[in-house]
Structure formats: structure tokens, C-alpha cells
């Protein structure tokens, strides 16, 4: 009896995205473990464990809320460390939007490679496995010496396009050269045309001049990217596409960080829709932005958790989205 009881999935949720954790738990048919995190009045984070995790397969779901990244990250580290102290058999950190993913290279002197720091911190805290979605650069997996499962939102996007748009009538557009691979992959699967916008970026969070390579005349232009932060790039790209004769412009983005004035920028833009997944907690942004549509990514994550726990292959999820 006890042998069968042991080593079940324990799903632990951080404070950043309880909605996603609940959806994953529902999908898996389990309950979120009884834990609670709070901040003391001196702002230190505290994590209380209310049930045994000894010898269990622990999955800690923690996204990082926009503007509260460090808070979420420290909470995650403390949760991981607590579970390790409590003799969990394996600890998997489920981080749908990997924090600091964009600070992944030393692009100038003495610039920190914060993504590597986060990777090292997660391992130091005691994570045995990482599950994430659409890493900004898949090379970040190389910063880890533990397995990293980088899930893709692509299958969910493909289904969304097939269900809502006419594939023959559309062009997949990458808003920058870096995302070309992601966009061509979607274009190949849908068998549609592809275009690319070339941009010059003088400083972070500032967008320079843009040039369209390809034809979007009288087509539905579908912009594909991984992170929508201030949305400056997307909105400028949408304007360029409109100028080049696109019928409508929509954008499919995995992580809707939507920081700063993103919502206002979007509302004022020529984009007719921005489709994001719920990897990042969106709060009231859906109400504030009528153009925002949300795809639920929890089935993919839940299935990855189930498969990881049972020792099955996860690669099926790279091409298929569970319904």
C-alpha cells in the first residue's frame, strides 16, 4: 500500500500564477498541494509547507508576473530549496516564461549573462528538472546540467490559425530576423507564404527603422514572435505590414509580458488581434484590451508533467497540442 502511495505527483503553486496551476491540476485530476507563501513585513519571502513531499515527484509551477520578476524568482528558489530539504524524490521547476531569458549573452563588456545566473541558481536551489515553454533562445538549455524540456506553443498556434483563419489567404511574418526560424516552421506546417521584417534596434525597448522582405498584398498577415513586452516592435511591424497592403494584421505571441504602456500601444495600433498564451499572468489586461485573445497552454504543460512523471517521451508534444 505504502509503496503505491509513494511517489505521486505533487503540484506546488507559487503565488505568481495560481490560475495556471489550478488549470494544470484540474487537467491532471489532482489537487494543488497545501502550501502558502507570503512576505514578512521586512519583505523577506516565507514559504510554508502543509503536507508531506517526502519521496514524492514534486512539480513547482511558478511563472513570473510582469514587474515582479525577482519576487517570483526568489519565491521559486525558496520553494525548490524547501522541497529539497523536505526530501522530495525529484523536483521539477515548471517555469512557463523563463525569467531573464533575453539576457542570455555577453553582448557588451561586463554585461551579466543573467539567464545563466538564473539557471545556476535554480540548480543550486535543488531543481532536478526544468519544464518551460518557448525559451527565447534554446541555447539557454545549455546553461543547465539538468534536463530541460522546452515545450512549444507552436502546435497550439497552428490549431488556432487553422480554426480561425484561412491558411491560403494568410502570410506568416516574422517581426525580426531572430524569429525567422520560428515563423518559417509555422509557415511550412500551414503551407503558406512567409515574409520577414528587418529591423534595426539602437537600444533595448527602443525600435528603429523597419523594412519588409516579402509580399503581403491583400493577405492576412500573421506576425509570430515569442515575447510581446512593450509591444513596440509588434505595433511598428503591424504598421509596416499595413503600409505594404496587408488586409488585416494579427499577432501570435507565446509570452504576453505586456509591460509598460503595452496595452495602450496595442489599443491604438492597427493590429486587429494579439493572441498570447497564458504562460504569463495577464491580470486585468484581457478586460483592458479588447484585441487580446488568450490560448490556454495548460493542457500542454499538464501533459508534459504527466509524461515526465511516468517516464514517457515528451517529444510528441513538440508537434501536437493536447485538446
Amino acid at each position: 500500500m505504502s509503496a503505491e502511495m509513494a511517489n505521486e505527483i505533487k503540484l506546488i503553486s507559487g503565488r505568481s500564477h495560481p490560475d495556471l496551476s489550478d488549470k494544470i491540476a484540474k487537467r491532471l485530476g489532482i489537487e494543488v498541494a497545501r502550501t502558502v507563501s507570503l512576505n514578512y513585513s521586512n519583505q523577506e519571502t516565507s514559504f510554508t509547507v502543509g503536507e508531506s513531499v517526502r519521496d514524492e515527484d514534486v512539480f513547482i509551477v511558478q511563472s513570473t508576473a510582469t514587474g515582479d520578476v525577482n519576487e517570483g524568482l526568489m519565491e521559486l528558489l525558496i520553494m525548490i530549496s524547501a522541497c529539497r530539504t523536505a526530501s522530495a524524490r525529484r523536483i521539477t521547476a515548471v517555469i512557463p516564461n523563463f525569467p531573464y531569458a533575453r539576457q542570455d549573452k555577453k553582448d557588451k563588456s561586463r554585461a551579466p549573462i543573467s539567464a545563466r545566473l538564473v539557471a545556476n541558481m535554480l540548480q543550486t536551489a535543488g531543481a532536478n528538472h526544468i519544464v518551460t515553454v518557448d525559451l527565447h533562445a534554446s541555447q539557454i538549455q545549455g546553461f543547465f546540467s539538468v534536463p530541460v524540456d522546452n515545450l512549444y506553443a507552436e502546435p497550439s498556434f497552428l490549431r488556432y490559425i487553422r480554426e480561425n483563419y484561412n491558411a491560403e489567404d494568410s502570410v506568416i511574418v516574422s517581426p525580426d530576423a531572430g524569429g525567422a526560424k520560428r515563423a518559417t516552421s509555422i509557415a511550412d506546417h500551414l503551407n503558406t507564404a512567409f515574409a520577414l521584417i528587418h529591423k534595426e534596434r539602437p537600444r533595448p525597448n527602443v525600435v528603429g527603422r523597419m523594412v519588409l522582405v516579402g509580399n503581403v498584398q491583400d493577405k492576412v498577415a500573421i506576425l509570430v514572435d515569442d515575447i510581446a513586452d512593450t509591444c513596440g516592435t509588434l505595433v511598428k511591424a503591424a504598421a509596416v505590414l499595413k503600409e505594404n497592403g496587408a488586409k488585416t494584421v494579427i499577432a501570435l505571441v507565446t509570452h504576453g509580458v505586456l509591460s509598460g504602456n503595452a496595452i495602450e500601444t496595442l489599443n491604438a495600433s492597427v493590429l486587429s488581434a494579439l493572441v498570447v498564451t497564458n504562460t504569463v499572468p495577464l491580470g486585468d489586461k484581457v478586460e483592458r484590451c479588447p484585441k487580446l485573445r488568450v490560448i490556454d497552454i495548460s493542457p500542454t504543460i499538464a501533459e508534459a508533467i504527466r509524461r515526465t512523471h511516468n517516464g514517457e517521451s515528451v517529444s510528441y508534444l513538440f508537434t501536437h497540442a493536447p485538446v
Binding site: 502558502v36 509547507v49 520553494m79 561586463r110 543550486t124
Partner: protein, 445 residues
């Protein structure tokens, strides 16, 4: 002027950084340390650190526009940036070590946690003996120090019943407790009951806890499982080492054992010499005063001072044995020693919510102390500590500037004296850099 040394400051304590740089006679390292709009820290170090001996000063204190965890992540990122920037050695200077003190939940014999319910945020009448908002699940954190204006406007409205009325707040608190003993009752009502005392008083940082009201309210350990609070001390030590810190300098660690969590050298400086000098110069007839430790844990710290100065010593002991409910407040603290008609000097390492020290002061007054000094190394003043201290029997509070004290000084005025620790840290940095012994800093005087 010291060569090959770089002092890099975080955002948590710019005044200390400036002071250290002034004494060392070198400019602070140019850096950009802000946040991207997404909330991620942005750090760029603009001066070369190649082959240099880098000292990064960041204290464990949430303030100056960022939260504690932001400051800590900033520190790790700066360390990592210097390491990848080929610094010869990176030393993290943390005047106040974050997460060094994580309170345990007190437990009943049955295993259920002994919640101290009731937050001060909603209460109008403020007394120093009201039950503190001990952080625990199901208990909302106390009101934060939002800004000077908020506090002063609140204080202006608050009448402070004192002296004879001192027994009544106990009952009042009990009533408070009854109302909210059940976490569910407190949080269950869609956050409505929570929102009312919170709004306006509590600033940005506590909102965090109220976002998942249902999550908090439903919290109850599984039957048969004794819930516990994660201790983050080891983790913090490991994270600093993993970021690339080669050396750590800190002051008056709450638990000296934290030193053992590190695989790198840790220099734990003492604020004791500063406190002693203060006693010698500022307390009239200090030889006749009594040194008091407000709890048994700090006895060693206090006796060290009492012994070296040839002063008398007394101890306040927390009685944990259950007594009659009505007497609990008074019976929970016992004074060992005699303070009648004496000047008392309370010694402790850290003032957080200020509960221990203010309760100790009250007891001392009751036992006949004439004047009460409280000397602490770290004055965090979190939550409603400022109010509590203002309403307390402490005549003079002395802290060091291991965390920024500007705001606290403005609120407490002449009741608060701030000792400058920058000479100690500068000397430690200088000696570590030159490879000299710093043990002289541990017992000079």
C-alpha cells in the same frame, strides 16, 4: 587612495556606498542598475573590473523604490557580471544579511501552530503591548512604512492610551483574536474584510499577499502533518556563492552559524565596539547602569558587553509555559535581575517589528527602571515598528546605519541616534584588500 580596488554599490544603501568611497578616497564604480519595464533587473558595469578587487555593497533591506528580493537579485547579478568581467576577486559586502533570521512558527503540543492573530493595521488605538503581527500563514502582514506622510498622518489621528489603561488592550486584542482566529473567516469574504483595513495604509508590497486570498484562506496543513516554514538562510548563502562571490563581509549575523553555510570566507564584523563607545560617551554614569538582554538568545551578546565594561547584567526571559489566559500577556515575560531605580540599556542585534524590545522596555519600566536605552545593530523598522517604538517606554533608541536610517530618523526625531558603520566596513575592506588581519576589528577598544 587604494589601488586596484573597485567599490560597486547596489541601490539599497547609496549613502553607505558614498561614505565608504569617501574614506577610501576613490570614486564608486559607474554602473547602470535599474529595471526593465518587464520587471527584470538591468545591470551594466561601465568601468573595467578586469584584474580588480571588487567590493559590492548591498544591504538586505527593502526600500529605495525596490523590494528586498529585487536588491538581492541585483546583488547576485552584479556579482555574476563582475565574475564574467574577469574581476580578480568579488567580495559581497552585506551590512545586514538578508534572510538571516527566519522565525519559526510556535507550536502547541498537539502540533497545531499557535497563531498569533490580529494585525495592527486596522486598529486606531495603538499601544506598544498589542500583539504583534507575527508573520504566519493566515495572518496578514502588518502595515508597511509606505511613506513619511502616510505614517505621520496616521499618527496624527492616533490617540495613544498609556499608563493606567495598559491592561485594556489585552482584552481588546483578545476580542480581535476571536474575530479572526480562523484564517478562513478573515480571508474568506472575498477579501472584503481584508481590503478595508488594508486600503490606503498598506502600500504596494503587501498587496502580494492579498492577490490569492482564497489560496491563503484555504490554507490548512493536511491532517497529521505538522506544517513548517522553509528556512532560506542556506539557500541565500548558496546563491551568493553560485553567483560567484569569493568572500562575504557582513555584520552581527543573527545566527553566527550562518557563517558555516558558506564555502567561502565570511567575515562577520561586530557592531559591539560602536555600541560600547556610545554607552561610554553618551550614557551618564554608565557604570551604574544595567545591561539587559531582551531574550535568552541575545544573552551572550549582552553579557559580552557587560563583562568588558564591568557593568551589571539582567535578562528578560520569555515564559512559554501556559498560564491563565488573562495573565498571559504579563506572565509571558520575566525579568531575571534587579533594575529598580537604575538606568537600563537593552542590547539586541536586530529590531524588525520592534515587538521584543518594546515589550522588554515596558517590563523594565514596570520593574522600576528610571531611563531606558535600547541599542541595536540593525534597525529594520518593518511593518508598524515606528509606531510601536513611538508608543513605547524606550527613551533613547540607538541603531547603526547598516540599513538606511534617513526615513526612520525623520519619523523618530531625537529619540533615535544613528551610529555610522562605514569606518568599520571601510577598514575591513582595506584590510581584506591588503591581506591584513581583520581580527583587530573584532575587539578593538
Amino acid at each position: 587612495m587604494v589601488r586596484n580596488i573597485v567599490v560597486l554599490g547596489g541601490n539599497s544603501h547609496p549613502a553607505l556606498v558614498e561614505s565608504v568611497c569617501n574614506i577610501l578616497a576613490l570614486p564608486a564604480c559607474n554602473r547602470i542598475l535599474t529595471k526593465f519595464s518587464s520587471g527584470e533587473s538591468r545591470c551594466e558595469i561601465q568601468d573595467s573590473v578586469r584584474g580588480k578587487d571588487v567590493y559590492i555593497i548591498q544591504t538586505g533591506f527593502g526600500g529605495n523604490g525596490s523590494r528586498l528580493n529585487d536588491h538581492f537579485m541585483d546583488l547576485c547579478i552584479m556579482i555574476s557580471a563582475c565574475t564574467t568581467g574577469s574581476a580578480r576577486r568579488v567580495t559581497a559586502v552585506l551590512p545586514l544579511f538578508p534572510y538571516s533570521r527566519q522565525p519559526d512558527l510556535p507550536y502547541k503540543k498537539s502540533g497545531a501552530p499557535l497563531f498569533k492573530a490580529g494585525s495592527e493595521s486596522g486598529k486606531k488605538d495603538y499601544t506598544f503591548e498589542s500583539i504583534p503581527a507575527t508573520p504566519a500563514p493566515g495572518v496578514p502582514p502588518s502595515a508597511g512604512l509606505v511613506s513619511a506622510t502616510d505614517i505621520s498622518s496616521r499618527l496624527a489621528k492616533e490617540a495613544l492610551p498609556n499608563g493606567n489603561g495598559s491592561m485594556s488592550p489585552v482584552k481588546q486584542t483578545n476580542g480581535h483574536t476571536n474575530g479572526h482566529t480562523n484564517g478562513e473567516a478573515y480571508f474568506g469574504a472575498n477579501g472584503q474584510s481584508v481590503a478595508s483595513p488594508v486600503s490606503g495604509v498598506i502600500g504596494s508590497y503587501t498587496t502580494h499577499d492579498y492577490e490569492n486570498v482564497s489560496h491563503l484562506g484555504a490554507f490548512q496543513a493536511k491532517p497529521g502533518y505538522k506544517q513548517w516554514v522553509a528556512q532560506a538562510g542556506t539557500l541565500v548563502a548558496n546563491l551568493l556563492t553560485c553567483a560567484g562571490a569569493d568572500h562575504v563581509i557582513t555584520m552581527d549575523l543573527h545566527d553566527p552559524q550562518v557563517q558555516g553555510f558558506f564555502d567561502v570566507p565570511v567575515d562577520n564584523l561586530y557592531g559591539r565596539p560602536l555600541l560600547k563607545r556610545y554607552i561610554q560617551t553618551n550614557v551618564p554614569n554608565y557604570k551604574d547602569a544595567v545591561i539587559i538582554s531582551p531574550d535568552a538568545g541575545g544573552a551572550k551578546r549582552a553579557t559580552a558587553i557587560a563583562d568588558s565594561m564591568g557593568m551589571e547584567f539582567a535578562l528578560i526571559h520569555k515564559e512559554r509555559r501556559p498560564t491563565k489566559i488573562t495573565d498571559r500577556q504579563n506572565a509571558s515575560m520575566m525579568l531575571v535581575g534587579n533594575v529598580t531605580d537604575r538606568v537600563c540599556i537593552l542590547i539586541d542585534d536586530l529590531l524588525d517589528t520592534g515587538n521584543t524590545i518594546t515589550r522588554a522596555a515596558k517590563l523594565l519600566k514596570k520593574e522600576g527602571a528610571t531611563k531606558i536605552y535600547a541599542l541595536l545593530t540593525h534597525g529594520v523598522f518593518s511593518g508598524d515598528a515606528i509606531n510601536r517604538v513611538k508608543a513605547s517606554a524606550i527613551d533613547k533608541l540607538v541603531v547603526t546605519n547598516s540599513v538606511p536610517q534617513g526615513e526612520h530618523k525623520a519619523l523618530l526625531g531625537s529619540r533615535l541616534d544613528v551610529l555610522d558603520i562605514s569606518p568599520i566596513f571601510t577598514e575591513a575592506i582595506r584590510r581584506v584588500h591588503h591581506g591584513e588581519s581583520i581580527s583587530v576589528l573584532f575587539n578593538y577598544d
